[in-house]
Amino acid sequence: MISFSTWDILRNLLFSLPWTLALSVIAFIGGGVVALLLLMLRLARRNLFERPVAAYVQLFQGTPLLMQLFLVYFGLALAGFETSPMTAAALCFTLYASAYLTETWRGCVEAIPKGQWEASACLALTFGQQLRHVILPQALRLSVPPTVGLVVQIIKNTSLATVVGFVELTRTGQMIANATFQPFTVYGLVALFYFALCFPCSMLGSWLEKRTRIQH
C-alpha cells in the first residue's frame, strides 16, 4: 500500500493544473473567435441574423453545461467521430463560451450611442470602416471588465469537464480522494487551487470596472 503525504497530494494536483488552464485558454480563444463572428453577422445583417443568434445564446444560457457536455460527447460519437474527452470538452466549452461572450459583447456594442453610427455613416464610412475606426475601439474599452468576469466563470466551469472523463484539477482531486480516503483535505486543497486562480482575476475585473466607471 502506497501512502500519500499532503505534499504528494499537493504535487499531483499541481501537475493537473495545466490541463485546467489549457481547457480555459482553448475555451476563451475558440469562444472569442466564434463570438466575434456571430457578433459581426448580427451587426451586418441585423434583420436576418438577430433571431438565430439570440436563439443560439438562449440555448446555451438556458440549459445546464452538464447536459451540453453530455450532448456533445455522445453526439460526436453518434455522428461517427472518434472523440477523446479533450476534443469533446474543447468543442463544448468553445460553444458555451461563445454564447456568453456574444451576449456580453453585444451589450457593449449597443451601449455605444446611436449618434456614433449615424455620424460615421454621414462621413461616408463603409460598414467595415465604421466598426474598425469608430465603434469597436469604444466597445472594446467597455468590454474588458465583463470579459474578465467571464474568464473567471470559464475557469470555474472547466471543472465540469470531469463528467466526460477529462482529467483536470477536479478529476484529479476526485481520483486522489478515492485513493487516499482524505476527501476533506483533497477537496479543500482543490478549492484553494481554484481560488488562487480565480480570485486575482475577479479582483482585476472589479478594479477595471471601477476605473471604467470613473472615466465615463
Binding site: Q58, L59, Q61, G62, T63, P64, L65, L66, M67, Q68, F70, L71, F74, G75, L78, V152, K156, N157, S159, L160, T162, V163, T170, G173, Q174, A177, Q182, P183, F184, V186, Y187, G188, V190, A191, Y194, F195, C198, F199, S202
Partner: protein, 224 residues
C-alpha cells in the same frame, strides 16, 4: 438513426426527476435569497468583524467551482463528523452558493439607495429595522431584480450538478434512463429541451412575481 420512442416511454421517471428539480430550485432560491439579503445587510450595516467574515465567505464561494463545493460538503465534511444525505447536502451547497452571489447583487442595490430616502425615513422616526425592511430593501430589490433573476436561473441550472452526488433530480434520472435504453443522445436532447423550457418559464415567473410580491405595486408595463 435517432429513436426517441424508448426514451419517451420512460416519461413517468422524467416527471419524477423534474419534480425533484423544481422542489430543489424553489427551496434553494428561497433560502439562498434570504441568506443573501442577510449577508448584504451585514456587509452594509453590520459590525466590522461581521463585514470581514461575510466578505471572505462571498469571495471564497464566488471564486471556486460549484462542483468542488458540493463534493467538499458531501464527501469532505463527513470526515469532521458532519454527515448529510445527498438531498440535504444538495440544498446546503446550492443555498450557500446562491447566498454568496445574491449577497453581492443585493448589496449593490442597497448601496445605491439615495441618501434622501434614508433621511426621510429618519425624519419619520422609523427605526433601523423598519428603515431597512420598508424603505431600503424593496426599491433595492426592484433595481437589481433583473440581475437576481439571472442568478436564480443559473442556480436552477446548477441543480444538474447535484446528480453527481446522486440526488435523484432530472439529470440523475436521465443518466439512468440513458444507461438503461442505450439511447444517450436522445435522452440528453429531451432533458436539455426540458431544462430550456424550465429556464424560460422560470424567467417569466420571476419577472411576474417580483413586482407583485417583493417590491410593492407593479410599475406600469413591468412583468408583462
Amino acid at each position: 438513426m435517432l429513436d426517441f420512442s424508448s426514451v419517451l416511454a420512460a416519461w413517468p421517471i422524467f416527471l419524477e426527476g423534474l419534480a425533484v428539480t423544481v422542489v430543489l430550485t424553489v427551496v434553494t432560491c428561497t433560502l439562498g435569497t434570504l441568506l443573501g439579503t442577510a449577508c448584504a445587510w451585514c456587509r452594509v450595516h453590520g459590525p466590522r468583524a461581521a463585514r470581514v467574515i461575510v466578505a471572505c465567505y462571498v469571495e471564497f464561494f464566488r471564486n471556486t467551482p460549484f462542483i468542488v463545493q458540493i463534493f467538499f460538503i458531501y464527501f469532505g465534511l463527513p470526515a469532521i463528523g458532519l454527515r448529510f444525505a445527498s438531498f440535504p447536502a444538495a440544498i446546503v451547497a446550492l443555498t450557500i452558493n446562491l447566498g454568496a452571489y445574491a449577497c453581492e447583487i443585493i448589496r449593490a442595490g442597497i448601496e445605491s439607495t439615495p441618501r434622501g430616502q434614508l433621511e426621510a425615513a429618519q425624519c419619520l422616526g422609523l427605526g433601523r429595522w423598519h428603515t431597512f425592511a420598508r424603505v431600503v430593501l424593496p426599491p433595492a430589490l426592484s433595481r437589481v431584480w433583473p440581475g437576481l433573476t439571472s442568478q436564480l436561473i443559473i442556480i436552477m441550472l446548477a441543480t444538474a450538478v447535484c446528480s453527481l452526488i446522486s440526488t435523484a433530480e432530472l439529470s440523475y434520472v436521465t443518466n439512468r434512463i440513458a444507461a438503461q435504453t442505450f439511447r444517450q443522445f436522445e435522452s440528453y436532447i429531451i432533458v436539455t429541451l426540458l431544462y430550456l423550457a424550465l429556464s424560460i418559464g422560470f424567467r417569466r415567473l420571476l419577472q411576474w412575481l417580483g413586482p407583485r410580491f417583493f417590491f410593492g405595486c407593479a410599475p406600469a408595463g413591468a412583468g408583462r
